[in-house]
Point group: C2
Chain length 331, copies 2
């Protein structure tokens, strides 16, 4: 296993410890519950936003905690939902007078943990709602979901509800915005290699030297088809041809375009893919109001990419443009 | 070859095209000379800063062009120096009344191209100086250098001279600052895998499933030793034990600490490494005034990392803290 780790079981806590040491003024690490919280949260004049999911998708979501984004992240172990009591503890610690929103990608394990935590938090008098994200067009049901999976597009939901919360919106309004952005967002990915969970020590699935998995999930779940590797042009075409008709996106639309890396893909290739996607959309009369190129939501060390489109209107654009301050930065 | 590419020969221009399409307001792509320039450069009240090198190190250096950093980047093909005439053309297009600084990592091919370009530009009446960066402590001479190699630490030189140029410093002052930051910066890296140049299509060297290359260069050059993979703790210790005595860094020093990914390493592992390095330095009484965790200077898709320390004083700290605006961002 070609990884920088000590004890595979300690992979997540050691990563969170490093993240906290790198951000001593802004983040608090709560090792007993595996939480990363804003050091200055909760703000009682704002709804608190919490995202939970398995680990292994970094920078999502522990590195998205900060002003204008998440107030806290509640990660599980690699590719595993956090325990209900950890989610509940996050809600307790971030309970604000305006309420708490739990953001969850639509996976069965996460859904169970968060719905249970919502019930328990509610019983304790915490004002709380849960919002599920399901932007992946690849498959309708999957290995770990009933319904569509939540993948890289969750960035846009987090950014939008984070901006609305920072502006003082109330919980109902924030839920409305989150649902609206989720409904306007579509993603599909492709893997060229499998990923290797630290505790497993070997690749999660076999894939040939000339093969790719189209429609892959962010835990290495099967997608639409296993096929022979093709050119960057053909890969972008296949992803866009799945995404565009699904909403649908149409000529005259203004969109946000994300080209996301799945962990092992260098940024040079992501910009190459971006150029192709940009040109294809322009040919179709779709204009790109905002663009995002980088590794936002990964599957450990998987070599792969996903493309996300978000249909913009004035409200969504302005929420995406709002300032935010999170640990991931280049200086 | 598990890459998102079309024609391997077109890898660099297609990447640059994507970068330009993603940044239409701030960057200009000059395909005839493979240049990425600030759209609003040159500014005649500022020294223009140009970095050249082979491609394959992204985001270095084409994605570091922007206000407060580089005015232009002059990349060659993958791992190859740019032609002299391309460097000369960059100097012509960015010639300002206050002069031009050419930044070059210390590799023989780049050194020749840039020294020749400097002579030709000078003969044309352009006020120009060249500064060589050599932060890598791994080896004294190497496969492609006489003297030490320039690697990820060049980020700090770029950031500092970029800030000084934005503040209106003159060329002599900027050269002084660049030399000072270079002299205060030390780096060493380790590779767990080789990288695969698109035009070659196969890994640049063989490395066993349980091996790592300590002191690797950013083109896959051999380092200090090939050895059996060890834990993250032991790897950080070996890198710091090479870096710390070299300057030397001592108890009471304030430093910038960068944990850099070499292209195929996910950010989760970089934060894990950061936590170890932070703790080790604290034990030695060295305080971390600024930290940098991410992939700043890569070797294509290589799985690996490097650690950089910069000894801070008030002047360097303030130049590193100055605002800058470049394409790489997370929103």
């Amino acid at each position: 296993m070609k990884k920088f780790i000590n004890d595979p079981q300690a992979f997540v806590p050691e990563m969170l410890q490093g993240l906290a040491l790198a951000n001593p003024d802004t983040l608090t690490y709560v090792p007993e519950f595996n939480l990363i919280l804003r050091a200055d949260a909760p703000h009682h004049d704002r709804v608190s936003i919490i995202q939970g999911s398995g680990s292994g998708h970094e920078p999502a979501h522990v590195m998205l905690v900060g002003d204008g984004m998440l107030d806290g992240a509640c990660p599980g172990d690699v590719f595993a939902a956090p325990p209900t009591e950890y989610v509940l503890e996050a809600a307790r610690r971030l309970a604000s007078d305006k309420g708490v929103l739990l953001l969850v990608n639509n996976y069965t394990g996460d859904k169970m943990a968060f719905e249970m935590a919502e019930e328990l938090a509610d019983a304790e008098g915490i004002k709380v709602r849960t919002l599920f994200i399901n932007d992946d067009v690849a498959v309708e049901d999957s290995l770990y979901t009933i319904g569509r999976r939540g993948v890289a597009g969750n960035f846009f939901v987090i950014k939008a509800v984070g901006a609305a919360a920072a502006a003082g919106a109330d919980l109902d309004e924030i839920v409305r915005i989150g649902e609206k952005v989720n409904a306007a967002t579509r993603t599909m990915g492709v893997a060229l290699t499998a990923c290797t969970p630290p505790a497993k020590g070997t690749p999660l699935f076999d894939i040939g030297d000339d093969e790719m998995e189209v429609g892959v999930g962010i835990h290495g779940e099967p997608g639409r088809r296993r096929t022979t590797m093709t050119s960057a042009n053909e890969i972008v075409d296949e992803l866009l041809e799945a995404i565009i008709p699904d909403l649908p996106f149409s000529s005259g639309d203004d969109v946000a375009l994300m080209v996301n890396g799945l962990g092992g893909t260098p940024i040079s290739e992501l910009y190459l893919l971006y150029g192709i996607a940009h040109a294809r959309l322009a040919e179709k009369g779709i204009s790109i109001g905002r663009n995002y190129v980088g590794s936002y939501c990964t599957a450990l060390d998987m070599v792969g990419t996903s493309v996300t489109l978000v249909k913009l209107d004035d409200e969504i654009r302005s929420l995406l443009e709002a300032p935010a301050h999170i640990p991931v930065r280049i200086f």
